[in-house]
Structure formats: C-alpha cells, structure tokens
C-alpha cells in the first residue's frame, strides 16, 4: 500500500511507545506498612511477574501497530484498545496489593506509582487524538467512558488498601463538608460576580468615564497575588465584624469564608465584566440598526437581540471565571475558608502525599467538568450564529 494512502500516525505511535516505556520501567505502585513510613516501590515485572507484564503490554503494542496503518477501522480498534487499557488500569494495582500486601499489617497501604499516573495521562492524550481523528461528539466519547467507570467501580473492592482510599475513609464527613464548602464558595462567587459583572458592564456601556475607571480598578485587582489579597482583606473585615454586630453574627471575620468570598469575587469580576462588556459591544451594528429600523424599542432590542447574541460570550466569561475560582478556592483554605484546599495544605504539612491528592484530584475533576459543561453549553448557544458553523453558499 502506498504511503500516501495510509500515512503513519506519529501521535498515536509516540504516545503508545511513551506509555509502554513508562509502564515497564517506572514503579507501578508502592506498599507501605503504615501512613508515615516511606513504602517499597514495585515496578511492573517485580509486582506481577513477567507473564502478566507481557500480557498487560499487548494492547499498547497493538496501538503502536495500528498507528502504522491508520485507517478508520484501525482507529476504532485503537479506541477500543485505549478504553480497554483504561478499564484495566486499577486491576494491576489490585493484583499487586493482593500479592504483596502483608495481611498481618492492617495499617499497610498501597500508593499509586508514577507508572500508574503517567499511564492515565498518556491514555487521556490518546483519547483526545482518537476523538479528533474519528470526529466523535462529546457524548459519544462519554458513552465510551461508561464501561471504564464501571470497570473501575468493580475493581474498587480489591483496592480497599489504596492509600488515597484510606485517607478518604478516615475523613468521610470532613470530605463531604469540604466538597460542599468548595462548591458553595465557587458557586457564590461566580453567581454574584455574574450579576454584579453584568450590572457593571451595562453601566460601563452607558458612560465612558465609568468604563475607564472600572477597567483600571479591575485590572489592578487582578495583579494582586491571591494570598496577598486574602491578607489585605483580613484587617478591614476583622475591624468591621468587631463593630457591626449582624456581620459578626453572619460569621464575617478577618479569616474564614468572608475574606475568601470577597477575594474570589474580586478576581472573578474582571473576566466577567470584560466578557460581558465585549459581548454587548460586539453585537453587529447592522443587526442593531435593523432592529431599531423595524420599530423595536430600546428594551426590546436589549432583551431580544443584544442579550441573546451576547450570551455565548458571557458564558465564556462564566467558564473562565468558574475554572479560575475552583483553583483559587484551594488557596482560600489557608485563611480558614475550608474547601478541598484544606486537605492539600494538611497533607503538605504532614508530608502525606495521598492526602494532598485527596484534595487536588477532586479539584482537578471539578475544573475539567465545569470547563467541559460550560464550553458545550456555549457551543450549543452559538450553533446558529455562524461563529462555529460556517456559512454555506
């Protein structure tokens, strides 16, 4: 077959070879007798023996072969193999735990090694590449991930000794509470900044003086490092709560949720105001002229033309703000605002990396989910306006 017909897919090849190398040489996991002691790392052959190791490598080799002759059926096969590898990922850890965990040590725990994390990383990149090649929609990819989650769920009982799991088991309630606090802070800050941001953007459009002042202030706010902003709010809020009773009753003080909320709001306002302002300003003047020329009033133009056309760009602002706030709220734990950041800083303090992960992984997941959902919503709203769909002659 000529090379032009089936050019080598370098991305799939490189990713599968990188995954293979990591998988074989880096530690799959570690086993520690208790929480504090550093564990013993096991590479794949050490943990499972050569026959299983070779078996686990076969799908990766398969992927590398597919990359050689990439046609549509080959891409589907590669997708199946990638999903299979993802499904099997926790299985190897469970097998390792089963073989090497000393039943006499109930405190013993299994840590996920570099090979495990990197494998997850390479496989995710492979999914992205295959999705593009096969032009899959988001929901199609989501459907493919259902069996993966199912397999993970089935493997979970074998991983009771996973360190991450044990950190969570000891903190079930605290985790739920931290998650809720995190979501509330993010939701509150984003929601408030949306309402406030829209109002400010509208005011800026009315008056160029307000526009200059507003952007100067918001840009300045954005340049203060987050920790410094939390610190700056400490004194005035402490002063306020000492003097105003109902504020103190609400729980407002120099530390805790109040300064965190205000700082988050400050950071969220700039992207929100900027996007709303740009969205409202960039509506095609021809469309607005026609709207007025047809006899629509100011209010009608705003509600039926300006806002609907601005909405996708506003949503883009909500997306940026949300993802940013999810990350920033982690820092807010430092001033006692709660949230998942608490685990990160506790874990850092105790040199317990699994506790850090217990905080960091859900934050990562939240950011990814928020990004994907809000992005999809914006694309959906955009589908008619020609910004994503090209004009057909």
């Amino acid at each position: 077959m000529s090379r032009r017909e089936a050019p080598l897919n370098r991305v799939v090849l490189a990713l599968s070879l990188a995954a293979l190398a990591c998988w074989l040489w880096l530690p799959l996991g570690s086993i520690a007798p208790n929480r504090i002691v550093l564990g013993t790392a096991y590479s794949l052959p050490e943990a499972l023996g050569w026959p299983l190791t070779v078996a686990s490598c076969l799908p990766l080799l398969g992927l590398a072969v597919m990359a050689w002759r990439p046609r549509r059926p080959a891409y589907y096969a590669a997708l199946a193999l990638t999903l299979l590898l993802l499904m099997a990922l926790p299985l190897w850890l469970a097998l390792m735990a089963q073989r090497h965990l000393d039943p006499a040590l109930p405190q013993a725990r299994v840590g996920i090694g570099a090979a495990g994390w990197l494998m997850l990383f390479w496989l995710s990149l492979l999914l992205v590449e295959l999705r593009t090649r096969l032009a899959l929609a988001g929901w199609q990819l989501g459907l493919g991930l259902v069996p993966v989650l199912g397999a993970w769920w089935l493997t979970a009982p074998g991983l009771a000794s996973l360190a991450l799991w044990q950190e969570l088991a000891g903190r079930g309630e605290a985790f739920a509470e931290a998650l809720l606090q995190h979501l509330l802070l993010v939701g509150g800050a984003v929601g408030t900044s949306l309402v406030l941001g829209a109002a400010i953007a509208l005011a800026m459009r009315q008056n160029p003086g307000v526009e200059r002042l507003g952007f100067a202030l918001l840009n300045f706010l954005q340049t203060i490092p987050s920790l410094a902003l939390f610190g700056l709010l400490l004194a005035p809020l402490a002063w306020l709560s000492a003097r105003v009773d109902w504020l103190a009753a609400l729980g407002v003080s120099g530390i805790g949720w109040a300064p965190a909320f205000l700082a988050l709001l400050g950071y969220s306002l700039l992207p929100m105001v900027r996007n709303t302002f740009v969205a409202l300003s960039e509506v095609d003047p021809g469309v607005l002229e026609a709207a007025r020329g047809m006899g629509m009033g100011r209010g009608q133009v705003l509600r039926r033309v300006r806002l609907p056309l601005a909405l996708p760009v506003v949503l883009e602002g909500v997306r940026i703000t949300t993802v940013q706030a999810i990350g920033l709220t982690a820092v807010a734990a430092l001033i006692g605002a709660g949230g998942l950041g608490t685990f990160i800083f506790q874990g850092l303090g105790q040199a317990a990396m699994d506790l850090v992960l217990l905080g960091a992984l859900p934050i990562l997941a939240m950011a990814l989910v928020a990004d994907a959902l809000l992005g999809a919503l914006a694309r959906r709203l955009n589908r008619h306006t020609g910004r994503t769909t090209g004009a057909t002659p």
């Binding site: 607005l288 020329g293 006899g295 002659p393």
Partner: protein, 318 residues
C-alpha cells in the same frame, strides 16, 4: 407621499445634510445617488426617525413626522439595508415575521404572511423557512431582508444600498426582481445607492446629491440628456452617457410602423433596449431591424438613424 422641506442635519460642526427639499410621490421609486459620505443614508434615516432632523420639516402623507411616535412610525415603514441586519439567532421565517409580531398580529396571520412573502421573493418555504441567516448566500439573505421590510405591507419602503454587497450577476437579478415587484406593489420607495447604473435601471426619478446638497433631480433620460454640471455628468459616466440612455430606452418606445418595403431579416424583440438593438446591428452589419412582439410577429421596425436621433428629445427622422 414623502415631502422634505429644507431639511438639515448637523453632526457637531459638520453639516451632513444641508437644507434639502424633495418630494417623493405615491408609488414612485426615487433613487438618492451620490458619492460616499454625501449624506444619502442620513437623509434616509431621518425619514423613519432613526435620526432626528435638526431643521426643516419632513411630512408623510401630509403630516409632520414629529407627530408620530418613532417606533410606531418605523413599524409602518419598510427598511432594508446593505448588511441585511438579519438576526443571526432567528430563523428566516421568524426574521421575516418580525414587524407583524411587533404589531401583535395573531400568530396564524403572521405565518400566512411570511409564507406569502417567501413565495413572492423566490424563497421556497420548505427549503428556507427554518434556515438561519448564516446558512444563506448573500443574495438569499438580501431577499430575506427585503421580505422582512415588506412584511407588514407598508406603503413606504426605505432601502439603503440593499444590493451594494452582492456580485454583479446577483445584483442585476435582484434589481430586475425589484422592478417587477414594484410594478405589482406600487410602493413609495426611497432607494439609496452610489451606483449610477443601478439608479438608472430602477428609478422613476433620480436625486443626485453632493456634499449634503441636492445637485439635480429628474427622470433618468432627463439627467442623461442634460446633466446640470460636470459633477453629475461624470457620475453619469461622461461620454458613456449616450449609450446609457440607449440602455434604458426600450425599442418599443422608438420603433416605427412597418414600411411596405420588405421586412428586414435581422430582428429584435420589442422589449429589448436600444443598446441591444445597436448590438444586433453591429453583429448583422445592417442599419434596419424588424421589431417582434412576444409571439414572434413583426410589429414594427427600427433604424440606426432613428436610434441615434432618439438621443435628442423628440426623436429623429425615419
């Protein structure tokens, strides 16, 4: 009927429209022509009060427009612009039904009217009603724009370079359709364009503007025969003027009854222009053509001398 009486508009120190007076009769298509920036759009937009005039008076059907509420006035006046201004988030059908909707027509009547207009403008309902503007070609979008302007059956139509962004073939097609439409609907139309050929092809009357003032107004042939000054003459294409006059005069208007001599073998339809007749003469190397009616029967004849003489008022010798 639209009357402008020494209407003036200033933007800061600049006078965009300078004391212009103009009457557009009922059922007339009046073209405002002039170079870019001479105040055509401003004049048009003062008529539907998108812009308020500073001085003078504008009357519609004898009443000063300041007596009307601006929004209600605009709902009674059709408006079509070069960029179409179609709402990108609305379907074609919804875009066309905009003004009837604002006028609170019942939904069934709006739907019926939208279908009627789509048929009138050559937009098959099945294929286009549910499309979005981004899915239309330039010509199709402009048809939708015109349909939207006509939706509430206004007596007056204001058009601001509606075909200015289209390729020449599409533009000429739409010009021809507008002519047919106007022959049937007899709207009072003010049509802004910087394209003199478009104005000559469409207008009953041309109003030539320069730097906010009216330089000359009159019928197409009137202007071609006697441009008021060098500016108008150059707008009309200088030495091409004669040919342009020939291009807007029909053979039927100039032909003579068939003489007893043998009927010329070269022929031209009665609906053709003198310009086309000249082309046939060049091609066939003759000086006389038989003029045919729709059923291919000779109904008259036209000669080169007659065509050349037709450039002057009163025509020439047979």
């Amino acid at each position: 009927m639209i009357e402008l009486k020494s209407v003036t508009k200033r933007f800061g120190d600049e006078t965009a429209v300078d004391a212009i007076s103009l009457t557009v009769e009922r059922g007339e298509l009046c073209a405002l022509v002039g170079t870019s920036g001479c105040g055509k759009s401003t004049t048009l937009r003062m008529i539907n009060r998108l812009i308020e005039h500073d001085g003078g008076e504008i009357h519609i059907e004898g009443r000063p427009i300041r007596e009307f509420d601006g929004r209600l006035l605009r709902r009674r006046i059709g408006y079509a612009i070069q960029s179409t201004g179609l709402f990108p988030h609305w379907t074609v059908a919804r875009n066309i039904g905009l003004v009837p909707g604002l006028l609170k027509w019942p939904a069934a009547r709006v739907a019926e009217r939208v279908e009627e207009l789509m048929v009138m403008l050559g937009l098959p309902v099945e294929a286009f009603a549910d499309k979005y503007p981004a899915q239309l070609s330039g010509g199709q979008a402009q048809r939708v724009g015109v349909a939207r302007a006509l939706a509430a059956d206004p007596d007056i139509l204001l058009m601001d370079e509606p075909f200015g962004a289209l390729d020449p073939i599409t533009r000429q097609g739409l010009q021809a359709e507008l002519r047919d439409l106007q022959a049937r609907l007899q709207k009072t139309i003010v049509f802004v364009t910087h394209d003199m050929d478009e104005a000559l092809a469409l207008a009953d009357r041309l109003v030539v503007m320069n730097a906010g003032r009216i330089v000359q107004q009159g019928g197409p042939l009137e202007l071609l025969r006697a441009p008021a000054d060098d500016f108008v003459a150059s707008l009309l294409g200088g030495d091409d003027r004669g040919l342009k006059a020939a291009a807007i005069t029909r053979v039927g208007e100039r032909m003579l009854p068939l003489a007893t001599r043998p009927v010329p073998s070269a022929r031209v339809p009665r609906e053709a222009t003198l310009h086309q007749a000249l082309a046939v003469m060049f091609r066939e190397h003759v000086e006389r053509l038989a003029v045919m009616d729709g059923d291919e029967r000779p109904v008259g004849e036209i000669s080169l001398r007659r065509i050349v003489g037709a450039g002057r008022e009163g025509g020439g010798e047979p």
